[in-house]
Symmetry: C2
Subunit: 379 residues, 2 copies
């Protein structure tokens, strides 16, 4: 086992009607709120009203920035930072899924600093802390509600970049499974894929961390058991709760402790599909993971077999990959680009972007030849 630091300061309220604690949590942190959300679905399903009711209890001033895209853009972050600075906000409140909360995280460091926020994301400028962030989650998927990571993209340069910074931990997160009940079948499925992919990125990282491996298996088995049930019963609160909790635990450091690093090569691949063709993040991962596993069937045979044994009670690499593909297919998440129509896919364009973005993993490095093979399998 590697040396590591256990730390996660997020306070997360989980369960039905937990939004009732929002007013008191706002009160101790700020009085001028930048409210960030997406394309407005929260105005249809009542979440916006519930949040505003809490804000009004304190009589806080609130300024809204909406319109965050599913694959979030640095342009929106820049605009949100400008609004937040001009209104001198002291708290950012994000209401949405991963794209909204990730944008809010970068906005929170943008407001606290002077540089262009993209420079922080790219690691070219060091941030100077963040204004406090409270998150209200409406989609079970990315785990951003309980970690200090954010992923945003710059469509102008075809870059989609993830980075981590401890002041970006939300101070408080609100996780009400009922808030995810209106999520479509498609995005519910992509969320399940996303949480599985997060656990796998840790598992295929560097270092020998047996208990963290067991947590990976537990989280994925939870998704394998309750994911398909949820797909058949989308309004079931209890099933929404199990998937929501699994998604949170899949990327809140728990699966990482004791490792030198995760791998994150598959995310790096998926990000290229998203930035080029706006492929939803979860869909990009159910396409990229089987391809990555096929590429590593000899290089990581032992780890893949251990995974298959623990998740599916199978004993070969091929059976493990097949089981994972069948699972993604069963919940409606694509496993090949050819099953989707997000764009007019160009093999050479994808490969070129793999190269220009230096697509690779932190543990398993990907060569140019690997890039070619991956695209071949994914198409």
């Amino acid at each position: 086992m590697e040396n590591f630091e256990i730390y996660n300061p997020v306070k997360a309220y989980f369960g039905r009607d937990v939004i009732q604690n929002l007013a008191q949590e706002i009160k101790s942190r700020g009085n001028r709120i930048l409210l960030i959300y997406g394309k407005g679905s929260i105005k249809q399903n009542g979440i916006y009203d519930a949040v505003m009711e809490q804000i009004n209890i304190n009589g806080s001033e609130v300024f809204e920035y909406s319109g965050i895209k599913p694959n979030p853009l640095i342009e929106d972050v820049r605009a949100a930072v400008s609004l937040g600075k001009s209104k001198e906000v002291d708290l950012v409140l994000a209401v949405g899924g991963g794209s909204v909360i990730d944008s809010a995280k970068v906005t929170a460091i943008g407001i606290a600093g002077d540089a262009d926020p993209w420079e922080y994301v790219k690691g070219k400028e060091t941030p100077h802390g963040a204004v406090p962030l409270i998150a209200v989650l409406t989609l079970a998927a990315t785990g951003t509600e309980m970690n200090c990571f954010a992923v945003v993209q710059d469509s102008a340069t075809n870059e989609k970049i993830g980075f981590g910074y401890p002041p970006m931990y939300p101070a408080v997160s609100f996780l009400d499974p009922a808030y995810t009940i209106s999520v479509s079948a498609e995005y519910t499925s992509f969320g399940i894929t996303d949480l599985i992919a997060h656990a796998l990125e840790a598992y295929f990282g560097r270092g020998d961390a047996s208990l963290s491996d067991r947590f990976v298996f537990g989280i994925i088995k939870e998704a394998l058991e309750y994911g398909p049930q949820l797909m058949n019963d989308l309004t079931n609160y209890d099933l929404r709760a199990r998937i929501m909790y699994a998604a949170t635990m899949a990327l809140n450091n728990l699966t990482a402790y004791g490792r030198k690093s995760g791998d994150w090569g598959v995310h790096s691949i998926g990000h290229v599909l998203s930035v080029l063709y706006d492929v939803p993040h979860g869909a990009s991962l159910s396409i990229a993971y089987p391809a990555w596993l096929r590429l590593h069937k000899d290089r990581s045979a032992d780890r893949i077999i251990q995974l298959g044994k623990n998740l599916f009670d199978v004993s070969t690499v091929d059976e493990t990959i097949k089981q994972l593909e069948d699972f993604f297919t069963s919940i409606g998440s694509p496993i090949r680009l050819s099953q989707t129509s997000y764009g007019d896919y160009s093999e050479s364009k994808i490969i070129d972007t793999f190269r220009s973005n230096k697509v690779s993993g932190m543990h398993h490095r990907l060569s140019g030849e690997d890039h070619n093979r991956l695209v071949e399998i994914m198409l």
Copy 2:
């Protein structure tokens, strides 16, 4: 799933030589330190010197209270509180195992308040916060390094009581597996038993929390796999590390999320054995758990069978209990009082103390008839 709150603010440094971060962590928190430890083994194995070296970097003033017993006494806490108050300390530094850290936790609230500390433990007075606490762990067992619970006893009244209070979370904990290498075979075994018992107390609590159950299985399987290896190789750093990390995760809230409560009836039983005969905590649990499971073989058959299936791949209650007993025996932890010689056990005295202390679980209530049967099985 029940509503719940995810929260654990402890920062824990895990790994070799992490003590090197102690000076900087002290610096931001205090300058007048109450150092609490046990009977002085830390002076033989070099840990005391390593800690003092860090304290001296800041030039902090340090006042020592030593002599904490393995089953910690409220008398010692009272004396430590007096010392801390008279020296106006602003930080408590605990160096030891569960008994030392638990005593330090109660000392930290005692210093911050005015009441007799036993009144806080008994829930008769509300504490008013705590001075900050830093823990340096020397025994893998209780998990106290990453939770806000403490257990102390009053030998005068034969009470051993556990309680929780959020300001008792250590601010920082230092977990160096090398610091546990000099722990005897006996106490290493008791530590493994303790961590398994903690995971089981969560599992047999109230509420349906499937992912937390999976974490329970993962933690116990880690102990089942590496515990026996460690017993055969006590100076192996890597095995010490795996057990130390499992013990921390077994009682840091992770196994509790989504449940209404744990059970803790077995701890309540074990505490009576400790307070009457000074039975080491871990030994009391390896004796009490099989007895408790036999008592619940019909009442909780489904849960016991699910446990057996996941841990031992067996399918009956009897086989599950047998496997657990065989495991405890294999690592040298007793499963019957008759295998031990901590005292001249009196069936009626144990039963009387069960009754006077209202020994029961929070989920599975224990009747007077249950008390009789438990003692019969344990003897």
